[in-house]
Every structure is written in structure tokens, then in C-alpha cells.
């Protein structure tokens, strides 16, 4: 197992993302409740929890994509509006229309729009950055492909390239591993590890408990409220998982390997 042994003492390290008392409600039903969360810089963190636990909601609320009922969110000590350029976001693959008339390279260039600002068009240097990001995810030969011709895994890698091109300090990714093939899953995890090696912070909504301890070094267990958050070795325990999933954990092995509770 290639688990990195966490950041056991991170008191003096920078905090990449700090969430205080965050509550989000849909029609007065809380989706996430009074979240306090601190993500130290440089970790590769999974957000894990059952369906409807509010994992995507947490990320969207952090980026102010949905209204917050209460609470504050700070990236590197500042509100999101002031540090947009430091934050890269990968939405769920299913959130867009893949029949849209455009190419893979164009979708990747969209990651640079924030840096370009209003009205200015992407030019040669933007195309080169986008091409470079496509190379990183192994998709360079698909650059001119119409996006509707991509497989699900290729779509996900395109989205990942679009985030890479932003050259952010912290990445928030909503289910990048959902329904992708084995090749893509390996490609994605390789990129996530490379990001961590470059000192980036990565927060990933994740579904597969089995791979979590292998892929990540930090974890937040969420079920509307935070159940536990910290280095994976200390946090990803059968006890915490049982509290997260309400006893639906089917199989626990050596306190680490867990299988068979999610539908996907």
C-alpha cells in the first residue's frame, strides 16, 4: 500500500481551505449542517459519505455556486471572490451537454477564461497551454475531436485537463472517478499524485471506499454533518465509517479494506 503517512503535525503549515459553521439547505431541509473543516495545504483529500450526504453540496457551497444559509469559507485566509485564480474546479461530468458543438481543445481552453477576464479572446499561448494540459492527461491526439465523440473516461480526462490548465493552488473535484474505465482511473490518480508532489492541495469527492486508503492521504467523512476529518490512517477507521454510513458497511477487513456499500 502506498499510503503516505499523513501530516501528523500540521499546526505550522498553511491552511488551504477553512470552512466554519457552514450550513446549506434546500427548501429548509439541511443538505449540510454546521460544517467546520480545515484542509491543510499539500494534502490529497477524499470527501467520503453516503448518497445524499452533501458531498457535492459542500464543494459547490465553498465556491458560492449555491447560496449558503450560514457560515464562512476561506481559501488561504481570504473569501473565494478574491482568490478565484487560486482555485480550480472540476464539476461532475454529467453536468454539461456533451453534444455541444465544440472541440476538446476548446473545452480545455475554457479553464483559462478566468485568467483572460471579460472580452479578451484566447490566443496562441492559450492554445499551447491547453495542448500541454491535454498531453498531461494523455489526450493530445483528441484535441480537434468533437466532444460528443468521447467516451466517458475521455470526457473526464478532458475536464481534468481543463482544471490543470488553470494552474491553481487548490483543486476541488466532484466525482472524477464516477463511471470511468480502468485506464482513466489510473491516469487520473497519477495526475492527482503529481499535483500533490508539486505541493498542490486536492479535494476529491469520492465514492469507492475500497480505493480510498490507497489513493488519498487525508479524508473527510461526511453525512450531512462532519463525522471525522484528518490523516487517512487515523481517520479512515471502521468505527468512523460505521458512524458515517449508519452500520451499512458490509465488509471490514484489517480495519482498512472496505467494500460493497455504494451502488456504483
Amino acid at each position: 500500500m502506498t499510503v503516505r503517512n499523513g501530516h501528523d503535525s500540521n499546526d505550522n503549515s498553511t491552511t488551504a481551505l477553512e470552512i466554519d459553521d457552514l450550513t446549506v439547505a434546500y427548501n429548509s431541509k439541511p443538505a449540510i449542517w454546521d460544517i467546520d473543516l480545515r484542509v491543510p495545504e499539500g494534502v490529497l483529500m477524499a470527501v467520503i459519505g453516503p448518497n445524499g450526504a452533501g458531498k457535492s453540496t459542500l464543494i459547490k457551497a465553498a465556491l458560492k455556486l449555491i447560496p449558503r444559509a450560514a457560515g464562512t469559507v476561506q481559501f488561504y485566509g481570504q473569501p473565494y471572490e478574491q482568490v478565484r485564480g487560486l482555485v480550480g474546479y472540476v464539476p461532475q461530468r454529467g453536468s454539461v451537454d456533451w453534444d455541444f458543438p465544440t472541440t476538446v481543445l476548446d473545452v480545455v481552453s475554457m479553464g483559462l477564461y478566468g485568467r483572460l477576464g471579460w472580452i479578451r479572446r484566447p490566443g496562441q499561448s492559450e492554445r499551447e497551454s491547453a495542448m500541454h494540459a491535454l498531453e498531461q492527461v494523455g489526450m493530445q491526439e483528441f484535441a480537434d475531436r468533437q466532444i460528443s465523440q468521447l467516451s466517458g473516461g475521455q470526457q473526464q480526462r478532458t475536464f481534468l485537463a481543463r482544471a490543470l490548465v488553470q494552474d491553481a493552488r487548490i483543486y476541488l473535484m466532484d466525482e472524477p472517478f464516477a463511471a470511468v474505465d480502468a485506464v482513466t482511473e489510473r491516469a487520473i490518480i497519477a495526475i492527482l499524485r503529481e499535483l500533490r508532489a508539486r505541493g498542490k492541495t486536492v479535494v476529491v469527492v469520492h465514492h469507492d471506499l475500497q480505493t480510498a486508503p490507497e489513493y488519498f492521504d487525508w479524508v473527510t467523512l461526511l453525512n450531512v454533518e462532519i463525522v471525522a476529518s484528518g490523516p487517512i490512517a487515523a481517520t479512515f477507521t471502521p468505527d468512523n465509517l460505521r458512524r458515517t454510513y449508519g452500520g451499512r458497511v458490509a465488509y471490514l477487513h484489517e480495519g482498512q479494506r472496505i467494500a460493497g456499500l455504494e451502488e456504483e
Partner: protein, 499 residues
């Protein structure tokens, strides 16, 4: 607007003589075609984004509810600002834009309640606003020129007649005051109505009023006979200016904010995360749709406006997978529809057939007694021709058209049949049951195929040198072996099966 026309006319007069320009504009076909094309281009550009956002029908709703904006602006102008209501005022444009935004806001409000689905919310919001508009029209502004025909199909055929006159020389504006010898004075009873008496009553008091006082433009002064020298005039149809300005505005917005519109259409979440305010883009787009709808309303009526927004982009969507090309193609299709639509209204179908002759032919053959002159609604004919172009794209689009899809499916089916037979031979070749399984004459039974289909497939396979038949026994050629093997490798053992 007037000033803009002046500039354009001066520019045009460098290239054409004034008489020719007037003659050109006075031809109903020219003005109708220009106005129709401008509506079609601006509609197609905006409609492309509406189509991709899955909100095509919003343009239908807005093209109706702008009527409310027009009527409310009309009432406000008359009663609040005390202005003479004028159908080409800036307030009407403001009112129309507000009505468009109100439609979208109301729809969202109803939808957000969580009690009604999105399409139904639209269906609730816009009839409400339209009904209010219709009632206001009939109750409050009964004297305004807004009849049912105009609402239905517009007046593009007479757009040439509603002009601004621009004077080039010999321009003498005339102002008639009450003490001018040319003033026509008449007496009016000032207290007849309040006292309920007739003007003949001795208590009636009178005041002198002037019936023809006021300012006369050179053209009006000439018409009224106040000047002796005929001014040199150019008559410019107003609707050309209105639609040209709206088209330029649309074009400018789309060129400037192309990147922002694209991003907020494709991925509003990322647009929001990057700080591009997709809501602002959304309502900006709705304002533009409203403006074009109100401009088009006059020409083609509220019912047909929607066709100019939806049909050209739908056709272009089948012809390309690049957004910039889709914008160009849909504009071209819209303009072509408008151009050929005018001819169709006059009975000429793309220069191929004359519908009047067709009617005459039908009369000759069957004695139907139909009227032999084909003269129909211009706007409806424009819509028909645009739809015709859509049908052409739908049928013959190289990538997504009906014909190419059918051909592709047939080829796929055929190549799959080939693989099935090759696989079967590969499987049984050299086995003990080979003589039974691979007999050419009875092979079809193993597949539950018709003998004809089996024969055809074998013939094709032999032609491709993949299969040979000897003594009624089919076998793979060396080439066929490789082919069958390759198929197994690539298609049956695929690592990426996680889809």
C-alpha cells in the same frame, strides 16, 4: 435613428443615383427581403444560443409578451409623460426589454416554487402576460394601430411604405403660426361641452384655433403646398433602420461576449466559479431576444417570430459541430429563407415552379375553379422556405442527416454480418462437426437467416477475399484468418468497459 439613416444615405449616394435608390426602396420586394433577412440573421444568431441552452421556446413566450411591454409603454407615454404615443419610440424598446425579462423572471419564480415543472412554468407565465396585454390593447388603446392581422403575421409586405423622408437639397422647412397668411383658422366652442349647449346657443363662447399650424418637414411642406420648389428627397423605410440597428447590436454583443456566452451556455457552473456571472449573461441574452422580438413583431407578427429563432439554428446544428460555424450557417439559412420566402409568397418556388401555373394546371385537369393568382402571406412563406432548408439539412446533412445515418447503419449491419460469419467459420474450421457446420448450402440455417441473405453475405466475403468455398465447404482464406483474429482482439477483449 434619423441621423443614422442620413449617414447611410450619404454613403449610398456615392454609389447610386438618388432616383435609383428611391426606386429600389419603393419596390416592396426589396424592403421586405432586407427586413426579413435582418430579422432572420439576428434571430438565428440569438436562437443558436437559445437552442444550445435548451430554451428555444422561451423565444416564443417572449415574442408574445413583448406586446405587454409595448402596450404599457404606450399608456405610460400617453398619460404619465404626456407625450404623443409613437410606435417607434425608445420607450417601447425599453418596455419590450422589460417585458422579456419579466417573462423569464416570472417563469423562474413559478418554477422555483417547486410545484410546477419548467415547461409548464413557461406555459403559465406567458399566457398570463399576453392575456393582460390583449385586454389592455382592447380596453385602453383602442385607437392604436395594433389589429389582429398585425399580431398574427405582421406587415412586412407594406414595410416599404412606412418611411422617413430625407431631404438632400431644396429643403425648406416651414413653420406655420396663427398669424401666418397661410394659416387656416376656425372657431371652436370652449364651453359647449361643459354646459351641454349647442354652438348656436347664445351663451356659447368661442376661441379661434389654427388647424394647420405647426412644423412641416420639407417633404410635408411640399405635399401641403407651402413651398414652390420641390425638395430632393430620399424615402427610407423605417423598419430597415430598426432591424439593422438591432442586428448590429446582436452581432456586436455576440462578437464581444462570444467566449462568455459560450462558456455560460456549455458549463454555467464553471462560468460562475470563474466569476463570469452566468445570470447576467442569461438576462442579457433575454434582453436581446426581447429587442429583436419587438423589432420583428411589427414585420412578421408574434406567432411567426419564433420560427426565425428556432428553425435556422436547428438546421445549422445538423450541419456542423463548431459553434462559430453554426452561427454563420444559421444566419445564412435564415437569410436564404427570407429571400426565397418572398418569391414563394408571390408564387415562385425557388425559380423552379410557378405556383400560379400549378393552380392553373390543376384547374385544367380537375376543373377545381381555384383562384389562379398565388398571393399569400410573406412572413408565412418565409417561414415555409426556412423550414424547407431545415428539411434539406435534416435529410442530406453529411454527418447527421437521415440519408447518411441510414447508409452508415446499413454499412455497420453489413460489416457485422460479415464478422458473424467469419467468427462462425473461425470457430468451427477444422473441428469434427465442420462438414455439418460449414456446408455452404445449409449454412444459413445455423444463423436463422434467409438463404438469400446468406448467399449475399458469402458473395461479399468472397469478393473481399476473406472466404473461399470448395466442394460446398466454406473456409477462411489466410487474409480472412487475420481479419477474424483482429476482430476478436479489438472488439471482444476490450479493456475499457467501464462505460
Amino acid at each position: 435613428m434619423f441621423f443614422l439613416e442620413e449617414i447611410v444615405i450619404q454613403l449610398l449616394l456615392n454609389f447610386v443615383a438618388r432616383e435609383d435608390l428611391n426606386a429600389f426602396l419603393r419596390n416592396p420586394q426589396h424592403t421586405a427581403t432586407i427586413v426579413g433577412s435582418l430579422i432572420a440573421v439576428s434571430g438565428a444568431l440569438l436562437g443558436t444560443f437559445l437552442l444550445l441552452r435548451g430554451m428555444s421556446l422561451t423565444s416564443d413566450a417572449i415574442s408574445h409578451t413583448v406586446l405587454l411591454g409595448i402596450v404599457v409603454a404606450f399608456i405610460l407615454m400617453g398619460s404619465v409623460f404626456g407625450q404623443h404615443p409613437d410606435l417607434s419610440s425608445i420607450w417601447l424598446i425599453v418596455g419590450a426589454a422589460a417585458a422579456g425579462v419579466a417573462t423569464v423572471l416570472l417563469t423562474e419564480l413559478i418554477y422555483r416554487s417547486g410545484l410546477v415543472k419548467q415547461d409548464a412554468a413557461l406555459g403559465l407565465a406567458f399566457p398570463l402576460l399576453f392575456a393582460i396585454a390583449v385586454i389592455l390593447v382592447s380596453r385602453v388603446v383602442s385607437d392604436v394601430h395594433l389589429d389582429e392581422d398585425a399580431v398574427m403575421v405582421g406587415e412586412i409586405g407594406v414595410a416599404w411604405a412606412n418611411t422617413n423622408s430625407h431631404c438632400l437639397s431644396g429643403c425648406e422647412s416651414v413653420t406655420i403660426t396663427p398669424d401666418d397668411p397661410r394659416a387656416e383658422l376656425t372657431r371652436q366652442c370652449t364651453n359647449c361641452r361643459s354646459l351641454g349647449i349647442s354652438p348656436r346657443d347664445e351663451k356659447a363662447e368661442f376661441t379661434a384655433i389654427c388647424t394647420n399650424c405647426g412644423q412641416y418637414s420639407p417633404a410635408q411642406a411640399w405635399q401641403a403646398g407651402f413651398t414652390k420648389q420641390e425638395p430632393v428627397l430620399v424615402f427610407w423605410p423605417k423598419s430597415i433602420t430598426v432591424m439593422a440597428v438591432l442586428t448590429l447590436l446582436t452581432l456586436l454583443a455576440i462578437v464581444l461576449f462570444f467566449k462568455e456566452l459560450k462558456l455560460s451556455t456549455f458549463d454555467p457552473t464553471l462560468a460562475a466559479a470563474l466569476g463570469f456571472r452566468p445570470t447576467v449573461m442569461h438576462y442579457g441574452l433575454m434582453v436581446l431576444v426581447s429587442l429583436v422580438a419587438v423589432g420583428a413583431f411589427d414585420a412578421v407578427g408574434s406567432i411567426l417570430v419564433v420560427a426565425f429563432f428556432i428553425i435556422p439554428p436547428a438546421a445549422a446544428y445538423l450541419l456542423t459541430d463548431r459553434l462559430p460555424r453554426m452561427l454563420v450557417y444559421s444566419s445564412l439559412i435564415g437569410a436564404a429563407g427570407a429571400y426565397s420566402g418572398y418569391d414563394l409568397a408571390r408564387g415562385n418556388l425557388l425559380g423552379i415552379a410557378n405556383l400560379s401555373d400549378v393552380l392553373a394546371g390543376l384547374n385544367d385537369l380537375f376543373g377545381l375553379g381555384l383562384s389562379e393568382s398565388w398571393d399569400s402571406s410573406i412572413s408565412a412563406s418565409m417561414v415555409l422556405m426556412t423550414f424547407f432548408f431545415f428539411l434539406v439539412a435534416w435529410t442530406f446533412s453529411p454527418k447527421y442527416g437521415l440519408v447518411s445515418t441510414m447508409l452508415r447503419r446499413r454499412n455497420q449491419r453489413r460489416s457485422f454480418d460479415h464478422q458473424v460469419v467469419l467468427g462462425h467459420i473461425h470457430h468451427h474450421q477444422g473441428s469434427a462437426s465442420a462438414s455439418d457446420e460449414l456446408a455452404a448450402s445449409t449454412l444459413y440455417r445455423h444463423f436463422r437467416w434467409t438463404p438469400a441473405k446468406m448467399q449475399r453475405t458469402l458473395r461479399q466475403l468472397r469478393a473481399r477475399n476473406l472466404v473461399e468455398v470448395e466442394d460446398n465447404l466454406v473456409s477462411l482464406t489466410g487474409h480472412g484468418e487475420i481479419h477474424a483474429h483482429q476482430f476478436r482482439e479489438t472488439q471482444l477483449t476490450n479493456e475499457s468497459v467501464g462505460e
